[in-house]
């Protein structure tokens, strides 16, 4: 209780401490070593390390990777930017690329001959700021509909493909002690991310959140909760919580991403499969958000090393390395051809490969202004799903300020 003075006071103090430690311990590595900062977990780091080593050898450098927790990455990057200690290669979550690029901390990848050919439009959009490509994601992800194969067989229903079918399936699968569907509608960007497929597939955009299409999308999701086919706890669930609910058998279907596959495989007695998220009407195009971390080359003031870093990024993001990284972390190779290869091996992956082809970058429309819209979206969803406001008023109120 007595640890901090105020939120930001503490943060500033932390920045001071970080600053000091950066000065003392920030001895820049020698010119022959590329420093990579990424957000890999202990399980996926070894897979990437192999790729890093291969690519470092290719460009004639050594490589040293520092792993930072995803939640703390931006703070670290900002601190490094202000103290001039940015790494040679920086991994950023794709919706953050424009934000950081707009600050001037990154260099365009086109300088190093990386035009972004062969990548889906969403991947290129996510890495582009002001017409220049700053980041490229070798592997990507999105959300889909996972389901319990036995539960659906028992109820005698097929995996849903439209909103009506999803609703009917959720209703039929809801039993005592089990909800039909689980998803995350948390008051964080995770809640926004999971709502976007409904919003976008229904023809609504994040710059006009009070449109009839947006209201319709929110009404649909809201209906699932109000009618009891999904728990009202969805407003407090992270995507990890959702996965736990699904594995525990408390939900027959869930909206989630391919990164859960290792955990789902490990769950005993669970026969699961995945299909693309249902669309409003049969024949509509699914527009899901594109996830994944992009590699960028920060401006470190050392042109020779930046050029090496550019070659390194070109190598890491090349098709031949994508498959290993994708399998290692439960993701989809972003190169269309390699993705097809991955899809042929695993039907669950195939689902996400399909969705990724039409997936949309969250920052394509609003660029660095995206966080503001993302906050409005999760706020509206929270207002509606908790019963505080009807969907139309919820969107109205969330976009007021």
């Amino acid at each position: 209780m007595r640890r901090t003075h105020t939120a930001v006071g503490a943060a500033s103090a932390a920045v001071v401490v970080l600053g000091l430690s950066a000065c003392s311990g920030g001895a820049r590595a020698d010119d022959g070593t590329l420093i990579v900062t990424d957000t890999l977990s202990d399980t996926s780091a070894p897979v990437y390390q192999e790729v890093y080593d291969a690519c470092a050898a290719e460009v004639g450098m050594k490589v040293q990777a520092n792993h930072v927790a995803g939640s703390g990455l931006i703070a670290t990057v900002l601190q490094q930017a202000s103290s001039d200690t940015l790494p040679d290669v920086l991994m950023l979550d794709n919706p953050d690329v424009q934000q950081i690029a707009s600050s001037g901390a990154l260099s365009p990848l086109t300088d190093y001959g990386i035009p972004g050919d062969g990548f889906p439009q969403g991947v290129v959009d996510a890495g582009t700021y002001d017409g220049d490509l700053y980041g490229i994601a070798p592997v990507v992800n999105t959300v889909g509909l996972f389901y319990d194969v036995d539960a659906l067989a028992e109820a005698g229903i097929e995996p849903p493909t439209t909103w009506d079918e999803l609703r009917a399936a959720a209703e039929a699968l809801t039993t005592d002690g089990r909800y039909g569907l689980a998803f995350s509608a948390a008051n964080t960007f995770e809640g926004t991310w999971q709502f976007l497929p409904y919003l976008w597939s229904n023809g609504a955009d994040e710059d006009d959140l009070t449109s009839p299409q947006a209201v319709e999308a929110l009404s649909f999701v809201n209906g699932l909760v109000q009618d009891g086919y999904a728990s009202s706890s969805v407003v407090n669930w992270t995507q990890n919580d959702v996965n736990d609910q699904f594995i525990a058998g408390k939900a027959a279907m869930m909206v989630n991403g391919p990164w859960n596959m290792p955990a789902l495989e490990a769950a005993e007695g669970l026969d699961y499969a995945a299909v693309p998220l249902p669309v409003p009407e049969a024949g509509d195009t699914l527009e899901a958000p594109l996830g994944g971390e992009a590699f960028t080359v920060p401006r470190t003031g050392n042109p020779e090393k930046m050029a090496k870093a550019g070659d390194f990024v070109a190598c890491v993001t090349r098709g031949e390395h994508q498959l290993a990284m994708a399998t290692g972390r439960g993701a989809v190779p972003s190169d269309t051809e390699v993705a097809a290869e991955a899809a042929a091996e695993n039907p669950v992956v195939a689902t996400f490969v399909d969705t990724v082809q039409t997936a949309r970058s969250r920052t394509a429309l609003l660029g660095p202004d995206w966080p503001g819209a993302a906050t409005q979206i999760y706020t509206a969803q929270q207002l509606a799903l908790t019963g505080s406001e009807p969907p139309a008023e919820a969107l109205e109120r969330a976009t007021e300020h």
């Binding site: 600050s103 001037g104 901390a105 706890s233 799903l385």
Partner: protein, 316 residues
């Protein structure tokens, strides 16, 4: 000290050497004094002065991610404050902050006082139990909130299961905007009880037993003894506990972030969480700093109250 000051010329003029020696000794003393002060001053400047001044300045700047690279933070005067105060969220956060603080303080204080009174009676294992009650204070807050989140889960959480056995329908502790603030206050009360109990207990220890013995002779026992002996003697400690409690509660961030993240539908969004959200989710460091400056001013008011109360307590 006055003896070393230059007075009227002494009758016997001391040698110049003696004079010089004395002034050198004085210099050395001065230097030593400063050397003792330097670490404290440096600490205060680096860890309190700089962050607070930086935060005040930041509150009047358009401080974004761009600033970290270019170093440019255009001065915007009071624009950030205007934006914060006129936003639809401001009324909610202020009200939530007030309700959260008042609810937490009342709960912590009353329960803490009851425990303190309880443990004042000596009984076997009393000290062991009292130290066990300190646990919430020792537990890392994030671990504590994770467990509470599980206890308060609406479907299958321990609390709702227990309530279910006596026929109470599941309460949506963390997912209903009407109840979430109550749930968060509940957890914060749990965290704050040890602090209140410990200080009040030591306050109780300082009340001489003779007062109670004398009071008992005059017929003051039980509740009467509490109102006429315990309470007046405990008052200085009570004021300090309450004021410190308010300051600590105003800025609570980790408990709320861990339990609800400010939701559902901003039902538990306080000034502290709003400042965090603006700064570290939307990267609008200027408005985030403005919110926390408002919080600093409110805390400062209570800090002044604390200093005055404390002074009175010492004087008494």
């Amino acid at each position: 000290m006055t003896t070393t000051l230059a007075g009227p010329a002494p009758v016997v003029a001391p040698g110049r050497g003696a004079d010089r020696r004395r002034s050198r000794a004085r210099m050395r003393e001065r230097t030593a004094q400063w050397l003792f002060l330097v670490p404290a001053i440096a600490y205060v400047l680096v860890f309190f002065g700089y962050p607070i001044v930086k935060n005040l300045v930041m509150g009047s700047q358009d401080y974004t991610v761009r600033t970290f690279v270019s170093g440019e933070a255009p001065w915007v005067g009071l624009d950030n404050y205007v934006e914060v105060v006129t936003s639809g969220l401001f009324r909610t956060t202020v009200l939530n902050t007030a309700l959260f603080t008042i609810g937490s303080i009342v709960g912590q204080f009353v329960i803490g006082l009851l425990f303190a009174l309880f443990f004042k009676r000596r009984f076997p294992l009393g000290n062991v139990l009292r130290s066990l009650l300190l646990l919430p204070w020792l537990l890392p807050m994030i671990a504590g909130t994770a467990v509470w989140k599980w206890i308060l889960d609406q479907d299958g959480g321990v609390l709702n299961e227990a309530l279910g056995t006596i026929g109470i329908a599941p309460v949506h502790w963390l997912t209903s905007p009407d109840v979430a603030l109550v749930a968060v206050v509940l957890v914060n009360v749990w965290v704050g009880i040890p602090f209140n109990m410990t200080l009040l207990y030591s306050g109780l220890q300082n009340i001489p037993d003779e007062l109670y013995e004398a009071g008992a002779l005059d017929g003051a026992t039980g509740a009467k003894a509490f109102w006429h002996i315990t309470w007046p003697n405990l008052r200085p400690v009570v004021s300090v506990v309450l004021v410190l409690g308010v300051i600590y509660t105003l800025k609570v961030l980790d408990i709320i972030l861990g339990l609800t993240g400010g939701g559902p539908a901003n039902a538990t969004q306080t000034l502290a969480t709003d400042s965090y959200r603006r700064s570290f989710q939307e990267f609008s460091f200027g408005t985030g700093a403005a919110v926390s400056n408002i919080l600093i001013v409110v805390s400062l008011l209570f800090a002044v109250v604390y200093l005055r109360v404390n002074k009175r307590a010492v004087d008494e």
